[in-house]
Symmetry: C2
Subunit: 694 residues, 2 copies
């Protein structure tokens, strides 16, 4: 199904370098050379068209390759366009009014240079204690302004969070400045500066840097870590055809775009020969990082990083033995430059396997028979840098049919200036002298375009609850009765649901048309997610209005083409009035979602109250969620993974050798004098064995 | 501090083989040869005595080695004793009344043989469809009876969960029988059989086994998994002195007993030369696995596995490249046999390091300077088998000062017979024809004997909450204000607290006598635990009464010697009236816990509604929690871990090579034709680098 035809891209492949060039030259030909390109990206085929092709690639028409183009023309005019690449025609060209497209890295990089030359900024730097001749030591992280009612959405604005580097190699986040210039991209100049009532001069604290010279000066690196090598001398266990991956019964296509970064398409599992669809499309569709300091202008710090900057545009180039260890395959990413060229991010996506510890084990206490089988996991990952923060995204596939999304947060805290012994009023923490790290949340929106054994799915909320019958009653005499309470979500409105830790709430994406042969329950995948803080900015707040997806842990919508990004298509400078994206789509909430093609949106993440341990660079903080098969398979789907060691009761009775002893012969005992071989043989007798006495 | 003196055991070392023998012979000499030994284990030194010795091992008296002994004398008389090993004297010998000590593996193994010969049991087997001559194919898992009001606590009883193996190598949990004999250990016979009203004959379904012959018959093992080798050619990074471990600034002692299994003692972190205590003792102190089917006798299925059977007694012998991969060190365990011998479990504890992925990373978007540092973790683990289930326990130490406890659940579901198309009434799931797997919870109690920068600690509940000020008010105009609301737990009563997912609740163990130099907040370790279901058996239920620790997510008690096990010292057949253990200790709850030596008890785990994927053997289900330093360190304590790759702005400006390029040279590109070396060099330019344009 849907496998590659020679040289033809898979319909969901990202635009190639050539395709991007083609789109750009067609647009330039039609609308002039002076355009600045913000987006040239795959316009994904309509689902009906794609699935028809997928069902019979030989007979059904292959979906057209179409480029989604967003440009800024002189005068700040923004156009949305579609380009039919094969046909060489522009099928849509629309002037937008008061909408701001995503900000590119190039736009961000401009601001610092302008800030350094602006007389009013220089004046503020001098007030902060920086000599005018030291402006080359002044840095800024330009953020989209978010939304500021003083300026609205017509002008393209950035807020410049200001920092200072006493030395070029010193991390500037240790020296935040207290004022905030506002940059107008159309004018190319600073149009205002937010200056706080209380002034906070530049910190005089000596730097605590993490670069080698600084660490050496503090006594150097620890020398007591011995290397760990991870190798696959016989090669890897996965197969790649174009961008379609096959690994351990899994098959899926790896997409990537400027906005969501990694996209996993058409995920299927080969269940004893039956190729069963599970998810049509998985991605991180949006995120928001609200900061908790209510004093203006800090309320503008609530990055919707994917819609405003792009998890693709910000993605890192990765390298062997550095971001990942082992046997790695990489995929590159191609993006337009503003002027209409193409830039390539080498090694944008990392693909590799890892050992996953024990997959399953059992020993029988009565006869010492045992099986222990090690697991393997398969990981598609990227790391993107959003100014100060790093987000490492790991899509992990397991042999038991589980899909895990793990995100590691690292990088550097967003910081603001503070006076010695200034009261942070609980809105932040002094993590270093003169450095106030504000409270914040990282809320991610996982988009699950479900296809659990077919397109028609239904979502149930599952709550673990005690029997209603009281202790001592005939139905629950000893009081131990409990069960899984399932509630069907009938409409988009009813599907706005929150997390409930007390009932270990999960959400079940079921296909009610197919029952498990044994449990007689609908086949399903269950969302098991435990890091689900509510949106702390209040109902009616600016963040609440701009990030409607974050109002609930789960939303469910009927599938509709182009409903991809739950804070809207163009996110910078939205006021949230009216809210864009998911709240628009759901509207009055009447749309039924029972037994239909649906999308589940899950907002999860962490609330971060910084502490000095997070500074100057944050140890990675992991968070994770699972999509687990429940009643989907007739049994453990990993039973045919060869065990590392296995003995059966009959062999033990007969005093015979193990049937299987595939214990990893590379493993060794840790210390001199330990004899790996002897001990391994010695141990194999009791390998992974039970606990019987002599 | 507290390091080994030649040949003298560390005061917290488990009893050696010789010490166990000494204790046994002293007891036999005093009280006769006919005793059956249930426990001969280290009686830990009083804390005051131990800490005095720890403070000056050269001058303070070394705590005596004392054996905690529990025996059963003829007539089922149970004695608790203490034996002074050096003094050769029995310092305590106490006859218990109506208390039942822990059940040993040997006691469990007896029952099956008696069951097979019992005429009434044979009669029931025949009724179930098993010919009398096939009794050798009948098996049982004997559990302590838990508590059954018909029999009370004076007789030592086990309930025999009955199964059948059509073939010796067939997993019996596929063929549960519907009746339950009750075994009296003192009489050595079956004294009753619980027979359900509805009879459920032996299932005729063909077996689905996981042993090699069965997998071969179904088509064999998958052959597409290539090996992953994990090696440490230069050796390991940890040092072991006796049972004291040193690794990456961590130092602690590894204890082990019959009950809790792994115990971590005197955990300290070397903070730039200052050895700072964090925890006096960490262990899993108890657990309970309540089943949710209220129909008798299933209410008796609520194993308090550690108090009733022992995580040490049930622990597995582990082996290289099987349970763990890499460079491993093992520790053995010694336990008494009932008759008064000693049995040794080889490789009871596994000690090893693993790569931990990215420890921290940052790239600067403006100049492409980057640092990426890989992390390492250190793991102390064991696997124990509780009849059908396996519990794999991983105590994980991280370089950033975090301690993680991960538990993997695997093994086999507890099963009960069901008729074809019988309604499980929601209390269980048919996971295989004729097999009903009942709903259950796995609730573990983590005992944290805190010592955060000293013995006097205080516990705060932390809740992430919005500002109280409404949107539009001057204090919270844009509505984005939020903060960490801290509530001090003043008394043991007030400290009975539950989880709150909505506020991402954490518990902070703080030392209010020491403030962080920057944040000015008390140094602390924070319990971050997200899998915290409430106890589903109701208040007043048998389980609720017998497992008082499970009533709340957290209890805090003032430290008192011998308060180790929160369901009581002798757990089998407790009625829960009155409740033993923690509810006894807390009493009226008036004891103050502010700024004192305290113990935090945390109950966490999972609620498991079985599904066919869990059968016949369960893919490991992991759960985890963290103890994280917050305001404990003045900065990221892992800054001196050497990076894999690092470039600084000044080097990039000068077009120079990286300062540090320690990328792992063993890593390779996955596919033929990929040239690892070239690509690595190619990539290193952009290694872990930012995302700037061309």
């Amino acid at each position: 199904m849907g496998s590659q035809v020679a040289n033809l891209p898979y319909p969901l492949d990202p635009l190639s370098l050539d395709e991007i060039n083609t789109a750009i030259s067609l647009v330039k030909k039609a609308h002039g050379e002076t355009l600045l390109f913000n987006v040239v990206s795959l316009h994904e085929p309509r689902k009906a068209e794609f699935t028809a092709w997928l069902a019979s690639p030989e007979t059904a028409p292959r979906p057209k390759r179409v480029a989604d183009v967003v440009v800024i023309a002189p005068g700040g005019k923004v156009f949305d366009g579609l380009v039919d690449l094969a046909g060489g025609s522009i099928t849509k060209w629309e002037l937008l009014d008061g909408e701001q497209p995503i900000i590119t890295m190039e736009e961000l990089q401009l601001v610092e240079h302008i800030v350094r030359k602006d007389p009013k900024v220089i004046e503020q730097c001098v007030i902060s204690g920086i000599p005018a001749e030291d402006m080359h030591k002044v840095y800024c992280d330009p953020w989209t302004i978010g939304y500021d009612e003083r300026f609205g959405s017509k002008a393209r604005l950035q807020q410049a969070l200001m920092y200072y580097r006493p030395d070029i190699d010193t991390c500037q986040y240790q020296y935040p400045l207290d004022f905030c210039p506002i940059y107008d991209a159309d004018k190319g100049e600073i149009i205002a500066i937010d200056i706080p009532k209380i002034r906070r001069p530049l910190s005089k604290a000596p730097a605590v840097d993490y670069h080698p010279a600084a660490v050496e000066a503090r006594g150097g690196y620890r020398t007591n870590l011995k290397p760990i090598n991870i190798t696959q001398p016989e090669g890897v266990s996965f197969k790649l055809t174009g961008r379609e991956i096959e690994w351990q019964n899994w098959k899926f296509h790896i997409g990537f775009n400027y906005r969501e970064g990694i996209i996993l398409n058409n995920i299927t599992f080969n269940d004893k020969g039956a190729v069963r669809p599970i998810f049509h499309r998985l991605s991180l569709a949006e995120m928001v990082v609200p900061y908790g300091n209510p004093e203006r202008p800090h309320h503008r710090k609530h990055a919707l990083d994917q819609g405003e900057y792009g998890a693709g545009y910000m993605t890192n180039s990765l390298a062997l033995g550095c971001d990942c260890k082992g046997s790695i395959h990489y995929l590159d990413a191609h993006f337009p430059t503003r002027a209409g060229g193409v830039r390539t991010i080498k090694n944008a996506i990392c693909i590799h396997e890892e050992d996953a510890g024990i997959l399953f084990k059992h020993s029988d206490f009565r006869d010492d028979s045992v099986i222990v089988t090690r697991g393997r996991k398969f990981i598609i990952s990227q790391v993107f840098t959003a100014a100060n923060y790093e987000y490492a995204i790991y899509w992990i596939f397991h042999q038991d049919g589980t899909i895990q999304l793990e995100i590691k947060l690292t990088g550097i805290l967003n910081t603001y200036a503070m006076l010695e012994d200034e009261d942070t009023n609980g809105w932040g923490t002094q993590v270093f002298p003169g450095v106030n790290a504000h409270n914040h949340q990282h809320l991610f929106c996982l988009r699950v375009d479900a296809n659990v054994d077919g397109p028609d799915n239904t979502v149930f909320v599952n709550d673990a609850v005690p029997s209603e019958a009281p202790v001592g009653s005939p139905e629950n005499y000893y009081g131990n009765g409990f069960y899984n309470k399932r509630t069907k979500l009938e409409t988009e409105g009813q599907a706005r649901t929150d997390y409930n830790g007390a009932t270990s709430r999960t959400w079940e994406i079921a296909n009610t048309n197919k029952l498990n042969p044994y449990s007689k329950k609908p086949v399903s995948y269950k969302l098991v997610s435990r890091e689900v803080p509510g949106l702390l900015p209040k109902e009616g707040s600016l963040v609440w209005k701009r990030a409607p997806f974050a109002r609930h842990a789960v939303h469910v919508t009927k599938y509709r083409d182009d409903e991809l990004w739950p804070a809207g298509r163009h996110v910078p400078q939205t006021s949230g009035e009216p809210s864009r994206g998911i709240s628009e789509w759901i509207g009055d909430g009447a749309a039924p979602i029972d037994n239909t093609d649906l999308v589940l949106w899950h907002t999860f993440g962490v609330t971060h109250f910084p502490s000095p341990e997070d500074f100057p660079v944050m140890p990675a903080e992991p968070m994770t969620l699972l999509l687990r098969p429940r009643n989907f398979f007739a049994g453990n789907p990993a039973m045919d993974v060869a065990p590392s060691f296995c003995t059966t009761p009959s062999q033990i009775a007969a005093g015979r050798e193990a049937v299987v002893d595939a214990s990893d012969r590379m493993s060794r005992l840790a210390f001199e004098g330990d004899d790996g071989t002897v001990s391994m043989n010695g141990a194999n007798g009791g390998c992974c064995s039970g606990n019987n006495g002599p």
